[in-house]
């Protein structure tokens, strides 16, 4: 079989159109720039004496219209390729773009449904709904949701497993057909240096990024909020100490910190696990305080909620921090040594609980990477929360709550925090993007997740060595990472714009 072309059958007539659109766009842009120097600017509306409005059109306006039109044509062609991929029966007719479009069908459907529903009901959806008033916000949201859905449906989208190898397809170019009897007829984005499907790895890699980055950011926010609120609210010595510690962590160059924390030696010494013991405690503390401060007047409800939090949270906590055969290990009774000196020598953190309580072991480097990322992000969140708290605590409604006799934690969690949500949500989006970049940086220095994992950072790092000859294994994850971070930044920008309009 022949390798696929990029654009397939539709390419024969869509390619020239696309090319024309690109040429028109750039020609118009350059011309516009040139005539801008000549003093011709876009016209505007003018109100005539008799009260009618007249639109003044200058050459610049026509050029801008041409540019808009070119962009629309270009996008229409892209949609055409996707539709072609879905409609046309033969692989050779679909082309690579069409075939990719077809694989991504669940993602398209989900995106269309999401946008249709959101735009229909946007009036009732608060800040989220307002997002659909801003085009930048919508583009950002679209990009982010594209990857979210790609990760969700990765099992259907990716034709191969991340580790499937077809040794004859090492470093082969995009669109190479696979041998008979394989799960899918082509390697759409080619093969990497071990004969694995680049397209599948990029799609499956999104699941790693989209699990770890948001989750780590959530944890960082829990830590930052739990410490930042009291620091800002109470001030005094507590504030001084916490701020000093936060600045201490921030003064570390991130890369040095990672080199100190994520090396196998430090892992062997168990340091990341001790850190995880401390850091993972914060979500539980946060939730317990949250419920307790709200419902301490209704003991029954309070007890139920706090009890549930402690039980479920505690179980997850123990499962998270313990790992078989490392310094923190939830030992089964049966694995506990007979004699007491031996038991003590096993260390403080060998917790004798039934083995079944250790629900899962987090494999590879994930725990370490996770903890380090949380650790690096928390102080910044702390500083933001502290700053906002300092600002908000002077407001009237806080004073009102104080005179009502509410406890300090109630005021912090139920008065100040909800009013700080705007900037926090914006920072949350930006921070996920930053965390994604950070994970990639770790991968770049070979400190990342499990080595074979398809996460984007590690894949870029792997592809880097043969980049000049075989760019195709490294470019897709690089572009994927870029588009996700770009989406998150645009989303944050849209949210900021819309929340400022409040």
């Amino acid at each position: 079989m022949e390798p696929l072309t990029w654009t397939g059958q539709f390419g024969t007539f869509l390619n020239p159109i696309m090319l024309a659109a690109v040429v028109v766009f750039f020609a118009a842009a350059i011309l516009n720039f040139v005539i801008g120097f000549a003093g011709i600017r876009a016209g505007g509306y003018e109100v005539n004496d008799e009260g009618t409005m007249v639109m003044n059109r200058t050459p610049s306006d026509y050029l801008l219209m041409a540019m808009q039109f070119a962009v629309l044509v270009f996008l229409a062609c892209c949609v055409g390729f996707i539709i072609g991929g879905i409609v046309l029966p033969e692989m050779a007719q679909k082309g690579i773009l069409g075939a990719v479009g077809q694989r991504l069908l669940p993602v398209w459907i989900a995106l269309i449904v999401t946008f249709a529903l959101s735009i229909t009901f946007k009036a009732r959806l608060g800040l989220y709904g307002k997002l659909f008033n801003s085009s930048i916000g919508m583009v950002g949201f679209g990009l982010v949701m594209f990857w979210v859905y790609a990760a969700l449906f990765s099992a259907w989208v990716a034709p191969f497993d991340a580790l499937d190898q077809i040794s004859s397809l090492r470093n082969d170019i995009p669109g190479t057909p696979t041998p008979e009897g394989e799960a899918y007829s082509h390697y759409l984005f080619g093969g990497d240096r071990l004969g694995r499907d680049v397209f599948s790895r990029v799609i499956l890699g999104s699941t790693f990024v989209l699990q770890i980055a948001p989750l780590a950011t959530v944890f960082a926010f829990m830590v930052g909020i739990t410490l930042g609120l009291p620091a800002g609210y109470f001030g005094g010595r507590l504030d001084t100490i916490l701020t000093f510690v936060a600045n201490l962590v921030l003064a570390f160059p991130v890369i040095l910190l990672f080199y100190l924390l994520v090396t196998p030696e430090i892992v062997a010494a168990g340091l990341p696990q001790y850190m995880s013991m401390v850091l993972f405690l914060f979500p539980i503390i946060f939730l317990v305080t949250l419920f307790n401060s709200r419902f301490h007047t209704q003991p029954k409800r309070r007890n139920l909620l706090v009890g549930l939090t402690v039980l479920i949270g505690g179980l997850l906590y123990l499962s998270l921090i313990s790992d078989r055969g490392t310094v923190i290990d939830v030992l089964g009774w049966s694995r506990l040594p007979e004699s007491w000196p031996d038991r003590i020598s096993l260390g403080l953190f060998s917790i004798p609980l039934p083995q079944s309580l250790d629900l899962f072991d987090i494999g590879g480097n994930i725990l370490i990477v996770f903890v380090s990322v949380v650790f690096v992000n928390s102080p910044t969140v702390f500083r933001i929360v502290r700053g906002i708290t300092l600002d908000i605590k002077t407001r009237d409604y806080v004073a009102a709550a104080q005179t009502r006799g509410e406890g300090p934690w109630y005021i912090m969690l139920w008065e100040i925090l909800p009013n700080a949500r705007g900037p926090l949500i914006v920072d949350f989006c930006l921070r996920i993007g930053y965390t994604t970049i950070l994970l990639g940086t770790l991968g770049f220095f070979g400190l990342g997740l499990s080595p074979e994992s398809p996460d984007w950072g590690s894949t870029i790092n792997e592809g880097r060595s043969l980049l000049t000859v075989y760019p195709h294994p490294a470019l897709p994850p690089a572009l994927a990472l870029m588009s996700l971070v770009l989406g998150l930044n645009l989303l944050a920008d849209g949210l900021r714009e819309e929340s400022l309009k409040d």
Binding site: L163, Q165, S167, L194, P264, G363, S450
Partner: protein, 550 residues
């Protein structure tokens, strides 16, 4: 300049009964030329004389081209901090210091040995006594004459096993007294100014190869245990102009020293651009280097594409994937056998090393070793492998395969993981950066190790598979194997040794001590017009030979 090999031939230092026996074997077709050369030259017969024994003319490679005087050469290589040569752990260290401190003998590309600071050497019939004759007229660059005292002092230093990391002690074998950890009484004998005699309590056939290895640089008698890059005293033609570890080092011709033979280049720059072959290639594209230390994998074609000359050498260098038997379930021989059954070495060679080598047979004795015995071919049967694994009760075991983080090591281990997965094993991969990998290299449960080329099969087996030795990474312990190895290590006659080697190889295979997919061919690239820069089986670069074509 007179070729020193010819000098030896003229002096008629060729008679050795065993060498003549080898010559007969060669003529009868029992020995190929390479094996013949390794064995006879190891006994002290010069390469030229050895060739004359079998009525052949020395191969072209043996007669080095004579470059023009002068010039600067830039070599891409790692630059490590200098230290006591005895504890050298990288060939690159030897390549840099070789311009200053030289060696007694050297190992040639064609598998023969020739003298450098030794003019000749002889072994007695049972290989318990070696007579080393020094090259006359060699001086140190501080003006002292090079004498037997220097050689004896170096031997004493090499035998000092109390120095941490002194790998020469292992190469000296029975010359080290196990009680004191020092050289044996009467083991090193200074006969006259230019003759040293080494007496072993038992037959020893690996002395000469041991003296040709990079940690055996010969130091001045007053500077044993010191760093030659710091004191700068040696017999070589060059001196260190500057060194910045991890970045570069520069050797320049020593103007105050009369070197005992010719050297050509005026200046050699060692350029370190890190561990990543991509950076090597980038600096070649940017015209920052003239030759590479080594070229690997996909980069071989890339360097070809730059129009550089490729040089290749077939070696017994290899990649060994071994299970450490101190870790369950690898103490169960069935588990190890299952792994070997599930792996097709041809696939690992193709995916891991781009097919640039030959398949190996899981016993770490290479067809180019003189004592290699051919065994029936290995079987590849994934279904039987899984059945065997289930029988051993280890079907749920997760095979955690550890490897270095880049290059062919990683690719091969990845390919091994994939093959095991295909056979239905549970596999997880662990990758550790180069800087830290070697901390625990002997104790990972299942990991890969690169082994350099060794001249004799018994050398490597003694180093890596004898019970309890330091580099026994498989934690293999088998008294029968040790006994056979003892026996083989004392036999000079290759055929007699081969019979025992056949048993040893069989034991290695039956016990599934290692999974060894391939023997590596090694490559190096250099710009056209650079002479004597060919790849060496042990990565050696002798700066004295390098130069530009006239």
């Amino acid at each position: 300049m007179k070729d020193f090999a010819n000098v030896q031939a003229e002096k008629g230092l060729t008679t050795h009964p065993v060498a003549e026996m080898y010559a007969r074997e060669h003529k009868e077709g029992k020995l190929d030329r390479r094996e013949f050369l390794v064995r006879t030259t190891a006994l002290g017969v010069s390469a030229a004389a050895a060739y004359s024994l079998i009525g052949a003319t020395p191969a072209a490679a043996q007669e080095r081209a004579v470059p023009a005087e002068g010039g600067t050469l830039r070599i891409q290589t790692r630059v490590y901090a200098g230290k006591d040569p005895r504890v050298y752990d990288w060939s690159e260290l030897g390549n840099l210091s070789r311009g200053i401190v030289e060696y007694l003998v050297e190992y040639n590309r064609d598998g023969s040995f020739s003298g450098v600071l030794l003019e000749s050497w002889e072994a007695n019939e049972d290989a318990t006594q070696y007579t080393l004759r020094l090259r006359p007229g060699v001086t140190w660059n501080n003006g002292d004459a090079f004498t037997a005292e220097d050689v004896a002092a170096n031997f004493v230093g090499w035998c000092d096993s109390t120095v941490e990391g002194n790998s020469m002690a292992a190469r000296m074998g029975a010359l080290v007294d196990p009680d004191t950890g020092q050289a044996r009484e009467g083991g090193i004998e200074v006969v006259d100014d230019l003759t040293v005699r080494i007496n072993f309590p038992s037959p020893e056939i690996a002395l000469i190869p041991g003296m040709a290895d990079y940690p055996s640089a010969v130091q001045h008698r007053d500077h044993i245990g010191e760093d030659p890059l710091e004191h700068g005293i040696g017999t070589g033609a060059y001196m260190l102009e500057s060194i910045e570890v991890g970045i570069s080092a520069v050797l320049v011709r020593n103007p105050d020293h009369t070197y005992w033979r010719d050297a050509y280049l005026d200046r050699i720059e060692f350029v370190d651009v890190g561990e990543d072959p991509a950076n090597w290639f980038a600096s070649a594209e940017a015209d920052e280097v003239d030759m590479t230390y080594q070229t690997t994998g996909d980069f071989i074609d890339l360097f070809d594409g730059l129009g550089w000359e490729r040089s290749e050498v077939t070696t017994a260098a290899t990649y060994v994937l071994r299970m450490n038997q101190n870790n369950a379930p690898y103490d169960d021989v069935r588990v190890r056998q299952a792994v070997n059954l599930a792996v097709d070495p041809a696939v690992l060679l193709e995916l891991g090393y781009s097919g640039l080598g030959t398949e190996a047979e899981n016993h770490h004795v290479c067809p180019i070793h003189p004592e290699y015995a051919e065994l029936p071919p290995l079987t590849f049967d994934p279904e039987a492998a899984l059945a065997l694994l289930q029988e051993a009760g280890a079907a749920d075991h997760v095979f955690e395969i550890t490897s270095l983080d880049d290059g062919f090591e990683r690719d091969t281990a990845d390919a091994l993981g994939a093959m095991l997965r295909d056979a239905g094993f549970n596999v997880e991969r662990v990758i550790i950066p180069g800087a830290t990998y070697w901390n625990d290299w002997t104790s990972y449960p299942f990991s890969g190790t690169t082994w350099n080329h060794r001249e004799l099969g018994v050398q490597i087996l003694n180093l890596a598979y004898r019970s309890g030795v330091a580099w026994n990474e498989a934690a293999y312990s088998n008294p029968d194997f040790d006994a056979l190895l003892d026996e083989a290590s004392g036999i000079q006659d290759a055929d007699a040794r081969r019979e025992i080697m056949a048993q040893i190889e069989q034991i290695m295979q039956d016990d599934a001590v290692i999974n060894q997919p391939y023997w590596r061919s090694l490559f190096r690239h250099h710009k056209a017009g650079i002479l004597n820069a060919e790849m060496h089986p042990k990565f050696e670069i002798n700066v004295h030979y390098l130069g530009y074509a006239a």
